[in-house]
Symmetry: C2
């Protein structure tokens, strides 16, 4: 099922029981991180949630840092897997696939887990370099599909312009999380917000031209800030 290389202590996880245990540990850690935040995530709480002792947990993960590293890989791998399957189910035309991705992202960020996990990840990335790397790696992979579709919808854009438009769309969608996410004040408006997002992003990708984004040359001439 999962084929990524985990970073637990070498030697551990070779028995079936150990592999299952690692999975239990990561699932439990993810649940605590989502429910209580990073400040509420401790080795003892993880061990208790799994039903093992701290000594046993420490056998798999000698330090909390090791566990967090594996946890981020585990969660991010799950999202990438989810993202790929969603892409496969998309429509035929580039525009349909583009809209399907927006729909998928919005639907996903309104789930309990995603709503609560990602703000934690963003905060973590501000103080943990490793978390930052994992986060940006996740988003970079997630933008590959978006950028590809943008290129099909609007072939006039340069590579850099396409990447910047893709980043803007991706980041904008992520920004909806604390507002329309699970249990958030605007969660009941998610259907309308989604329509606004689709119209806005489709128009953006369709209509935007080179002149709208200053090149490095014209940027030197007229800095608009």
């Amino acid at each position: 099922m999962r084929s990524i290389k985990l970073q637990n202590r070498p030697g551990t996880g070779t028995y079936i029981k150990g592999q299952e245990r690692i999975e239990q540990i990561l699932v439990a850690a993810q649940g605590i991180l989502i429910d209580k935040g990073y400040s509420g995530l401790s080795m003892r709480k993880i061990a208790t949630a799994v039903g093992i002792t701290i000594g046993n947990l420490h056998y798999y993960y000698p330090s909390k840092k090791d566990l967090l590293s594996d946890l981020l890989d585990h969660v991010i791998e799950g999202y990438l897997l989810e993202f790929n399957t969603a892409r496969a189910e998309a429509g035929s035309s580039a525009l349909d696939q583009f809209i399907a991705i927006i729909n998928f992202i919005v639907d996903d960020l309104t789930t309990h887990d995603t709503t609560n996990f990602f703000p934690e990840l963003w905060a973590l990335a501000n103080h943990d370099e490793q978390a930052a790397e994992r986060m940006h790696e996740l988003y970079r992979k997630a933008r590959l599909d978006i950028n590809d579709l943008i290129a099909q919808i609007n072939p006039t854009l340069s590579h850099q312009q396409r990447e910047e438009v893709g980043l803007f769309i991706s980041a904008s969608l992520e920004g909806l999380t604390p507002f329309i996410g699970n249990g958030k004040p605007w969660n009941s408006n998610v259907a309308n917000i989604k329509r606004i997002a689709i119209k806005s992003f489709v128009d953006l990708v369709t209509d935007i031209r080179d002149e709208d984004i200053a090149s490095s040359k014209s940027e030197l001439i007229a800095a608009c800030d």
Copy 2:
């Protein structure tokens, strides 16, 4: 200078020294929260940063919860003040003011403090009801100006549609923080991203019509998800 009602222990802060001390405490706490995150924010670290003892800190804030409550008020009040002055400096036409606000928000979220504080606030809001209330109150106030300008630019929008468009724009801008913020991978592209944002949001507010956002009636007929 600051006129908001703080929530420190009654009786404290009546002397000038006490008022200055409270300000020092909140500034120090904000700095630690920004630099180390909430998990790295402790009463002792705050006291040490201020140069007082834990006992003295507890005299002002009997519990960490009380301090956090005051801290959020303090920081949010600062942002609202900053936002109001920025609005006063904006141009004459509604469209110019709209663009000025976008410029201000993007410039602000690329500062070190804002880049690091708000993700912490979003994560905090997921696990602390009081933090959630403060956060949404801040954004609600910040959207007042945006919504007002949207109404001037596009008077055809209903109240609800205007609010939803305003929320989408505000949330989208916030979402840029973990990507183009201070020290983030796309920080060097902030000028171009800003142009994309301005074009996208101006087009959205100018062009959007009632039909683009389904009313409660048509929503029942055709759910597009």
